[in-house]
């Protein structure tokens, strides 16, 4: 593993140490829409934490806040004790070099080959020789099972493979902390199983901390050490998968059991049934 002196150095210690990421009373929104209201949660070191919740509930927002791509309007987003929102551009970039992020569809650079994609962070941030870069890239690709695809372009590989390449790229600089944005969305069962296995193995073998934002109940509950469920603007549940499954919170209950009715309504807000179908309804060209 490479160690580089930087401003936001993380320490890798046992899970008894303080959490790697902590959100304290964070409020965030766009315009009048509040997405997170006084949200507090912790991400323990060395574990796989799942972030779940209804669509638009703020899961991806939490990732963006941790990565410094968005700034909280109130509260603190602490990365190993340092407030991300208060960091300068240089500090932020130093912090980002210690984390990896996997975007939903991979976000590979379409004008480069698979090899060049994985080599990108190495070439940008290190002065390693071409031979060393080649070795590291091939090792990362080997870990995700795509060493043979190294000369292909992103347009030539499937979605599942693209995401694995993105994982190799996120791992290129041996980060201590990885965020996965919907790693299971749209994958076939084989790829799904493989991805989940990869996430778990990498996390344990390298002592990483992983955050997974996902909708897939089954796979995520199998994989995660800790589950956080976000309701509209608040944390509805936080605990081990079993604890969450047993929760009495109505929102959590609806979510975990995949029920159509519950705190999250089935029908979108609109005119009442009488207005649309009743005798007083004026039928004008479809509306």
């Amino acid at each position: 593993m490479m160690t580089m002196p930087d401003v936001a150095g993380f320490s890798m210690q046992s899970s008894a140490s303080p959490p790697l990421v902590e959100l304290r009373h964070v409020t965030f929104g766009y315009g009048d829409r509040t997405i997170l209201r006084d949200v507090s949660l912790t991400i323990p070191r060395g574990k796989v934490t799942a972030l779940m919740g209804a669509s638009g509930g703020g899961k991806t927002t939490v990732l963006r806040l941790i990565g410094g791509q968005a700034r909280a309007q109130a509260g603190q987003v602490l990365l190993d004790g340092q407030d991300v929102g208060a960091m300068s551009q240089a500090q932020l970039y130093a912090a980002r070099r210690r984390m990896g992020m996997l975007f939903q569809f991979g976000a590979l650079f379409t004008d480069m080959t698979v090899f060049e994609n994985v080599a990108f962070p190495l070439r940008e941030h290190t002065q390693l020789s071409d031979a060393m870069v080649r070795d590291i890239v091939l090792m990362k690709l080997q870990a995700v099972g795509l060493r043979g695809a190294r000369e292909l372009m992103p347009s030539q590989i499937s979605g599942g493979m693209a995401r694995r390449v993105a994982l190799a790229r996120a791992m290129a600089l041996d980060p201590e902390f990885i965020m996965y944005d919907e790693p299971f969305a749209g994958l076939d069962p084989i790829s799904l199983g493989t991805s989940a296995q990869l996430i778990r193995e990498l996390n344990d073998a390298l002592g990483l901390t992983s955050i997974i934002v996902s909708h897939d109940l089954e796979e995520t509950f199998k994989l995660a050490d800790q589950v956080i469920i976000l309701g509209p603007g608040v944390v509805a549940a936080q605990g081990t998968p079993d604890e969450v499954r047993a929760s009495s919170d109505p929102l959590v209950h609806q979510f975990v059991n995949a029920l159509a009715q519950g705190p999250v309504p089935f029908h979108v807000q609109g005119p009442s049934i009488d207005e649309d179908f009743g005798p007083g309804a004026v039928k004008k060209g479809g509306r």
Binding site: Q69, R96, M99, M101, A107, F109, T110, P121, E124
Partner: protein
Amino acid sequence: MRWWHPADIGFALRSKAAAVGQATRLLLRLVAGLGYVLKRPGLLRDQIHFLGNYSLAIIGVSGLFVGFVLGLQGYYILQRYGSAEAVGMMVALTLLRELGPVVTALLFAGRAGTALTAEIGLMKAGEQLSAMEMMAVNPIERILAPRFWAGLIAMPLLAAVFSAVGIMGGWIVGVLMLGIDGGAFWGQMQSGVDVFQDLANGVIKSIVFGITVTFVALLQGFVAKPTPEGVSRATTRTVVMASLSVLALDFMLTAMMFSI
């Protein structure tokens, strides 16, 4: 927007002003990106290849045909006053002062400008720019700045090629096809064209146009909505805005440069 509502007008004006501010900030960061670009000349070289070499065909062919037409029209008009031999000077001045920089800029906006906008817009839609940011690489320096400086360098060269090819086109039509004396063609041209007044001003114009077109293209791609319609609308906006800006700037520059 309810145009009679002061709040809506105020909001619209504020968002327009914010957009202008954002654009200015981008321009400054692109200019400041020169330091980064000089450290990574390979990126610049690749972009000059993409913007310059690939535009050469359309610029060359267009220049040739424009030269043909200028030669033809010029001959018909001038020979009525017995000054057919001045065709060379007319073609050269028209190209160097106006058509060279302007037509090249318009063609560049259509060919290279739309390619830039689409590329950046699609990168934005595919979250590639975000991914780069999360890997602690500044996408403005790494992706946008090399393209900006490549456009700035490529445009004057393309305009020079356009003018040169156009003059040759005028020569082909005037001397080879219409029988004007070759010596008079070049002689009149040399006496009428001033290196500083005409050629240098034309080069300055093409540099200004290069900055304008490339910046508009990059800006539209950068602020495009990350959807298919968003990108397509952005490319249209690039062509329209870049073309209008070039024509407006041409008028202002001409007034400044060629005033007596």
